[in-house]
Symmetry: D3
C-alpha cells in the first residue's frame, strides 16, 4: 500500500515534520511519503492562502496518480481542495480536519479545537458543521503556523489554552487544529489528562484503513472524474 501525505503549503520543514508524524503510525506494510507543492503559500492562515494552495494540491494528486499512490492525506486543518482531490484520485482522500473530528467523536461527548490564528476559527466551525461533528469551540493560541517550531512557549500556551477550552466548552476531548502541531499531541494529552487528537496521524490511519477495506470515493455522480474541457493557463489534466 502506498500512501501520500500532501502538505499544502510550500514549507519543506513542515512537510518533514508531518511525514514524521504520519510514519510513526503507518503500518509496517505501508509505503508512505510526504510531499508539498512547489507552488503556493508558505503557510495557510486565511481563505486566500487556502484557495491558492489548491492548484498545488491538485498537481500533487495528479502526479501521485501517475505514481501508483493508493490514498492521500491532505495535511492542512482547513481540508483545502478535498472535494476536487476526490474527483481526481482513484483512491480515497482524507483531510486532517475530518479525520481528527471523526476520531474525536469516537472518544467523548464533545471536543474543542485548539488552533493557530483567530481568523482561522470560522473555517474550523464550518468544517465541523459539514462533518456533523460535536465541536463545542475553536480556540486560537495566536501563534502563526511557521512560528510553531520556533516559539519555545508553544507547548505551554497550547496546554493553557486547551485547559481553558475544556472548561469553557465543557468538552472531554481536544483536537489540534493545525498540521504544524502534530508533535504536541502526546505532551498536551499528558498535561491535561484527556485524549488529544492530531489529524495528521488520524488521517494517515483512516486512509490506510479505507485502502485495507477496499473502499474508495464513490464515482456514482458528484465525485466522478471531471468532464473533459479546455483549461487555460492552469492544470490541464482533463483538457479535451
Amino acid at each position: 500500500m502506498f500512501l501520500r501525505v500532501i502538505n499544502p503549503n510550500t514549507t519543506a520543514a513542515m512537510t518533514a515534520k508531518i511525514e514524521e508524524s504520519a510514519r510513526a503510525v503507518a503500518g509496517p506494510g505501508t509505503r508512505l511519503d510526504a510531499v508539498n507543492p512547489s507552488m503556493g503559500p508558505a503557510s495557510i492562515e486565511s481563505h486566500y492562502d487556502e484557495a491558492l494552495s489548491v492548484p498545488g494540491i491538485l498537481t500533487e494528486i495528479a502526479r501521485g496518480e501517475t505514481e501508483g499512490v493508493d490514498a492521500y492525506v491532505i495535511a492542512c486543518f482547513g481540508d483545502p481542495g478535498l472535494d476536487a482531490a476526490r474527483e481526481l484520485a482513484r483512491g480515497p482522500v482524507v483531510g486532517i480536519a475530518e479525520a481528527a473530528m471523526h476520531a474525536a467523536a469516537l472518544l467523548g461527548r464533545g471536543f474543542s479545537v485548539v488552533t493557530t490564528l483567530d481568523r482561522t476559527r470560522g473555517r474550523a466551525h464550518e468544517l465541523a458543521t459539514r462533518y456533523g461533528s460535536p465541536c463545542r469551540g475553536v480556540h486560537a493560541c495566536d501563534i502563526p503556523v511557521l512560528e510553531l517550531d520556533k516559539d519555545p512557549d508553544v507547548l505551554d500556551r497550547v496546554v493553557a489554552l486547551g485547559r481553558t477550552a475544556l472548561h469553557d466548552d465543557d468538552s472531554d476531548v481536544l483536537v489540534l487544529g493545525c498540521a504544524g502541531m502534530a508533535d504536541l499531541a502526546e505532551k498536551v494529552s499528558a498535561a491535561l489528562g484527556v485524549p488529544v487528537v492530531d489529524g495528521v496521524a488520524a488521517a494517515t490511519l483512516f486512509a490506510q484503513s479505507l485502502v485495507t477495506l477496499g473502499l474508495r470515493t464513490s464515482a456514482r455522480s458528484e465525485y466522478a472524474q471531471p468532464p473533459p474541457k479546455a483549461y487555460t493557463g492552469i492544470l490541464r489534466r482533463f483538457t479535451v
Copy 2:
C-alpha cells in the same frame, strides 16, 4: 458606484450574456462591467473546475481593487472563491447562489433549484445549508453549461424540469442554478406562474444595495486582509 461582475470561467460569450443580465437591472447611477479571468476552465461543472477557477477570480479581484471597483459579483452558482475574495476586496462581494437563495427566501416558503449537470447538485445543497436557505430540492436538466446557448430545447427542458421540481418538492419558488441560465428567468416564470430567481441579476442588485447602504465585509477577524507571506509561483499580492 462601480460594480464588477466576474464570470469565473474563461468563456467570453458567457461573460457577455452575464453582463447583459446584470446591466438590465443595475441602477442608472451604477457603472457596471463583466469580466472573466484569462486563466481557468472553460466552464465550471465539477469541484475540480471550481477549484481551478479561483486563482483567476482572485486575480480579477486584485485587479479590480486597483481600478476602484466598489463591489463584486461572482457569477457562478457554486460561489467559488467567495471567502477568499472577501478577504481581498475592500467592498462587498456577493455570490450568485447566495443572492438567489436569499432572494428566494423573501418570496415563498421554499424553493427548488434547477441546474445543469447532476454532479453539481451536491454543491448547491451544501451552499443552501451554509446560507440557511429553505432549499427543498436541486434538479439537473443534464445540459452542459456551454450547451445552454446552443440547445434549442433548453427553455422547454427547464420549464418541464421546473414543473416537476415544484410538484415533487412542494416548492413555491424556482432558482436558476447556473449563470448561463440568466436569460431564462422571465420565460420560465411566465410558463410556470411562480417567481423564478436569476442569481446574476439578484446578486447585482444586492451588491449595489450594500454599497448604497455603506456596508462592506467585516474586517474584524476572519475576513481581514490576509497576513503577508511568501507565495511561490502564484498570485503574490500579500507577499512580504
Copy 3:
C-alpha cells in the same frame, strides 16, 4: 416604482424617522412614502403589542393595493404580520428583521443583534431561526422604543452594548434590532469598526430590488389570496 414603508405602531414621529432612513437609500426612480396605522399600539414591545399591530398593518396593505403600491416594507423588527401581508399584496413585502439578517449574512460569519427591551429577544431569536440566519446573540439595551429619541445616552449605550456583543458572541457584524434605531447605524459602525445593519434601509433596498427583478411573492399555494369568507367586526377585504 412606488414603495411604501409601514411603521406598525401609531407614533407619527417614529414614522417620520423611518421615512427619512428609507428615503436616504431609495433610488432616484423610486417614489417612497412611510405610513402608520391609525389603530394599534404606540410602540411594539411584546407579543401582545405585535399581535395588536397586525390589523393596522393589513389595513395599510389593503389601502396600498388600491393606490398602486408596488412593494411594502414592514418596519418593526418582529416582522409582524409578514405572512398575512404577503397573501394580501400583489407585490413583494419585506420585513426589516429578515432584510437585516439576510444582509448581515452577506457581510461576515455571524452577527449579533442589539435591541431595546430584554423581553423582545425571544422573538428575534425565533426569526433568526426561521430565516436560517447566523445570529449569535441578541442583546438588550433596556431602553423603551419611544425613549430612543429622548435618551441622550442612546448612542453611547448602543455602542457599549455592541462592543460587548461582538466580543461575547464572537460576531463580526451588528444588526440594529429596532426601526427606531435606524439613525444610529453609521455612528455605531464608525465607533466599532464593523458593519452595522439598519433593517429599514436594508429592507427598502431589497424591496426595490425585488421590484426591479420583476419578482413578487409566490401565489402558488400558501401565499395565494385568502379564500373569501365572512369576517365579523374586522377587516373585510375578502368577505364573500
Copy 4:
C-alpha cells in the same frame, strides 16, 4: 379548576363541537366551557384569517381573566396568538397544534398531519419546527373547514389520506390538523390501526395537567405582562 377553550373563529357550531370534544376528556373536577370571539373570520384558512382572529382571541383571554379562568386552550391548529395570550393570562395557555404534536411524540417515532386546505401546510410545518416535533409530512384533504361537517365523505377521505400519509412519510402516528376534525380521531384510528391525535382533547388534558401541577407560563422576561402604553382603536387592557 376552570378551563376555557377558545375557538378562534366566529362559527358557533364549531365551538359547540369543540366543547363536546374537550368535555369528553376533562376530569370530573374541571369546569370547562368553550367560547368564540364575536369578531373575526368565520374560519381560519390563511395567514390573513389567522392574523385577524388574534384580537378576538385576546379579547376572550382578557374576559376570562376577569372571570377566574385557570387555563386556556386555543383551538385552531395554527396556534394563533399563543405568545400574546401567554403574556395576558395568569394561568397556562395551550395551543392544539402544540398539544397534539407533543402528545404524538410520546406515541411513536414520527407523525404525519392530516389537514384541510393545502395552503395551511406551511404553517403546520413551521409549528412542528418551533416545537421540535418529529413531523414527517403534512397532507391536505382539500375540504374547507366549514365543509367538514357537511361533506358526507369526510371520514373516508381523511382515512384514505391518512393511509397514504403513513406510507409515504413512514410515520406511525397521525395528527388531525384542524379543530373541526376533533370528532374523527377515534374512527380514523379504528380504520388505520395507529394512534390518531385530536389536538382539542389533548390540549384540554395538558392544560388541566399544568393547572394540577401548579405550573403557569413563566413571567421572568419574555412572557411577563406587556408594558402599559397607549393603544388606539383596539384592545386597551394595558393602556397607561
Copy 5:
C-alpha cells in the same frame, strides 16, 4: 385507570417518595402505585447504571402487563429502557425526562435542567435533542442521588444552582433532573419565581392523559411487540 410508576433503581425509600409525588397529582379515578425492580443498581448515575437498570424495568413492565396496568411512568431522568418498554406494554409509557421537557416547552421560551452529578449531563442533553426540546443548559449540583434526602443543604444548593442556570442560560423555566428531587419543585419555584417542573408529576399526568385520550404507543412497525426468539439467561417473555 391503573397507572404504575417504575422507579428503575432498587432503593425503596426513593420509590416511596416518587409514589407520593405521583399520587399527589393523579386524578381521583386513577389507581396508582409505584414499584422498583428487585434487580439493578441502588441509584442511577452513569450509563453503566442506566444499562443495568433496564432488565429490571422490563421485568416490571412484563409483570404489569399481567396485572392490568394501563400506563407506565419510568421515573429516572435518563428515561432508561423507554423504547423497549414501549414495545412490551400495551398501553403508553412515559419517561420523566420527556414529560418534564414537553411540559417545560409549554411554559416558556427555554429551560435549564438542574441535576445531580456532572457526569449525567451528557445524557440529559442527548434526550433534549431527541425530544426537540428547548433545553439551554444542564447544571449539576454534585449531590449523589441517594444523598438528596440526607443533605440538609439540598434545597439551598438547588435554588442557588437554579438561579445561576436561569441567568447564564437566559432560561425562563427550570426542570428538575432527577426523580429524587420531586419534592423540591414547589419550594424552588417559590424561591426563584419561575415554573419548576418535576418530571414524576408531569409524567404521571401525561400518562393519565394519554389513557383518557385512548392513545397508546403505535404498533405499526418499530414499536410492535418484539419478534419471538430464544433468550438465554435473561427475560424470556417473547421466547419462541
Copy 6:
C-alpha cells in the same frame, strides 16, 4: 495489540462470521478474537432485544478488562451498550454503526443503509442523527438476522434493495446495516459500482487505529469509571 469483537447476540455461528470479517482486515501485529455473551437474545431485532443484550456485552467488557484487551468492537448495528461500555473499558470501544457511518462520510456526499427488518430502521436513523452522519435513508430487506445465512436470495435481494436505495435517496455510498451482512460488502459493491461499507471491518480498523494513536475514551467526566454502589442481582463490578 489485542482487539476483541463482541457479537452482542448469543448465536455462535454469527460470532464466527464476524470474527472472519474482522480478521480479514486487522493488521499483522494485532491479536483479535470475537466473542459473544452466554446471556441474551439469539439475535437483535427490536429495542427489547437490544436492551437485553447489554448486560451480556458489559459482562464481556468486564472480562476483557481482566484479560488485557486494548480495544473493543460492538458488532451490532444498533450500537447497543456503547456508552456504558466506554465507562467500563480502559481502551476505546467502537460500535459498528458509528464506524460504518463515519467511514461512509469519507467516501461520498450521502449514504443509504440497507438493513434487515423494517422495525429496526428507527434506531438506525437515530444513530445517524447522533453521529452527525449524512444518512439519506434506511431500507429493510425484510430478512430476519438469523435467516441471512440461510436464504439463498440474500445477495440478490440486498443488491436490488441497494439499487433502489441509491436511486431513491440520491446516495453515492451504501452501508450494510447488520453485522450478519459482513460477508456481502464486496459482492454488493461489485454489483452496484459504489462503495459498500461493512461496519464490522470498519470498526475493527478504527479501533486498531485508535490504539495505534494512543487514544482512549475520555475519562474527564461523563465516561469516567462509574461511581461504586450496590448492584442487586446483576453485574457488580463497581459495587462498593
